[in-house]
């Protein structure tokens, strides 16, 4: 029924606050045929009986045909299953490594969760190393668990990395924009000079370029992309590209 989508349509692209409510009063039609549509509530929206409540502040977004969610800005990361993150190894205790992922608890990483690792062939991981892994268990009741292999047993780009380079922190919204399939920011950055980039969904980014100066330039460009429109960003990148040549 159009009533459901109409309630949301006015507010798409507007800033909503927690506590805002969408209530649907289906019109009482004489013939008794009420067509109900299905809508999918994404992050930030919650159903409460006959209404939909907003539980995070942000902008309401819509994706065809019927998905709605709240796009919110956040810097604190909450571990979720299936997300790939950059972690820092803080301790080795018995068979597991304790890894700091920026959440409320440290995650545990078993030493067998690397490609080609067996009980005799232990992986070469030291305290202070950077690891890129995925969460297998991540909920509010248990300690999160990381693995550096996928379900087939292959590394697939995960594992220990980062002999040089620089690790810094960005907001979660910007990281999601960087990881989008056709990210403009990454495309524009590639034109300036080549560099290696690892992006973790916990807001951590690792960069390595040919010289230290180039690494620092990429770092400060990424940090400044947070609050710029695409126009401002492109002019800035053009100025940097001309200046460095």
């Amino acid at each position: 029924m159009d009533t459901i989508h109409a309630c949301f349509k006015d507010k798409i692209g507007e800033v909503l606050l927690p506590g805002d409510v969408f209530s649907f009063r289906l019109p009482e039609s004489g013939d008794g045929s009420i067509k109900t549509d299905k809508i999918i509530c994404g992050p930030g929206l919650r159903r409460n009986g006959e209404e939909v409540q907003v539980c995070k502040s942000g902008i309401l977004r819509h994706k065809q045909p019927n998905m709605y969610w709240i796009d919110s800005q956040q810097r604190r990361y909450v571990p979720a299953k299936g997300e790939s993150v950059i972690g820092i190894v803080t301790a080795k205790s018995g068979d597991i490594f304790k890894v700091d992922v920026g959440g409320s608890e440290q995650a545990s990483l078993s030493y067998l969760a690397f490609e080609g690792a067996t009980k005799r062939n232990r992986p070469n991981v030291q305290v202070g190393d950077l690891v890129y892994g995925q969460f297998t268990i991540a909920n509010k009741d248990m300690e999160p668990e990381l693995v550096c292999i996928d379900s087939c047993g292959r590394a697939n780009g995960m594992g220990v990395f980062g002999a040089d380079g620089l690790l810094f922190k960005l907001s979660l919204g910007l990281v999601r924009r960087l990881l989008a399939p056709q990210s403009e920011i990454v495309k524009d950055l590639e034109k300036i000079f080549p560099f290696e980039l690892v992006v973790g969904m916990n807001g951590r980014v690792w960069v390595k370029a040919k010289t230290v100066q180039q690494t620092l330039i990429v770092t400060s460009l990424l940090e400044s992309c947070e609050n710029m429109t695409s126009q401002q960003r492109q002019t800035l990148f053009k100025r940097v590209a001309e200046g460095s040549l």
Binding site: R46, R47, N48, G49, I137, N139, D141, M142, E145
Partner: protein
């Protein structure tokens, strides 16, 4: 039944036979516990005098008893619970119990995920399989159809309704959550 203090003299050996909580000294019976005095005629010549802490004896969970417990914390390998009731009698102290991952279900034991069977705060019906050592807790199992989660609250805070042996639904948000649900016999369900 009067209240006794420790080392209080109860009576002489000629009047009663000493029972639990008492000791003999110099021909007199003394109390060794603080509690209530019980005099029982057990068919011998003299009554047996004993001192007990409480008038009712504590019911302890025994192997094979069905207990009602509340989940306190979960772990990928086991769930820790507090035992609240043994059968239908409430316990005065909370005993601690453990439900291991292998004891949650009877079939497909290696595919069990603790997070999809129990959550902290759930009320669970379980059976005692072992009393454990000095250090460890009671070992419990839910590997039967009638055992498992009976009362659970959803993430929104409402009490959930069971829809199958492995799912429960929240009436407010209509979100489904996984639990190992107990099949309660119809005569125990109240309308």
């Amino acid at each position: 039944n009067s209240h006794m203090y420790v080392c209080e003299r109860l009576c002489s050996t000629e009047d009663c036979i000493p029972g639990t909580g008492t000791y003999l000294r110099h021909g007199y019976i003394f109390a060794s516990l603080t509690g209530y005095v019980l005099r029982k005629n057990e068919g011998e010549e003299l009554p047996v005098i004993s001192v007990v802490r409480e008038t009712e004896t504590q019911l302890l969970p025994d192997v094979g008893a069905i207990v009602t417990c509340k989940v306190t914390s979960i772990n990928p390998r086991f769930a820790k619970v507090h035992i609240l009731y043994v059968g239908s009698t409430p316990l005065k102290d909370r005993f601690r119990g453990t439900i291991r991952k292998e004891d949650v279900r009877a079939t497909e034991k290696d595919k069990v995920e603790t997070y999809k069977s129990f959550r902290p705060g759930d009320i669970v019906l379980a059976k005692v399989i072992s009393l454990g050592d000095v250090q460890s807790n009671y070992l419990l199992t839910t590997a039967e159809n009638e055992l498992g989660v009976v009362v659970a609250h959803s993430e929104a805070g409402a009490q959930m309704v069971p829809i199958s042996w492995c799912e429960m639904q929240c009436p407010r948000t209509h979100a489904k959550e996984f639990r190992k649900v107990a099949r309660v016999q119809p005569e125990y369900l109240q309308a």
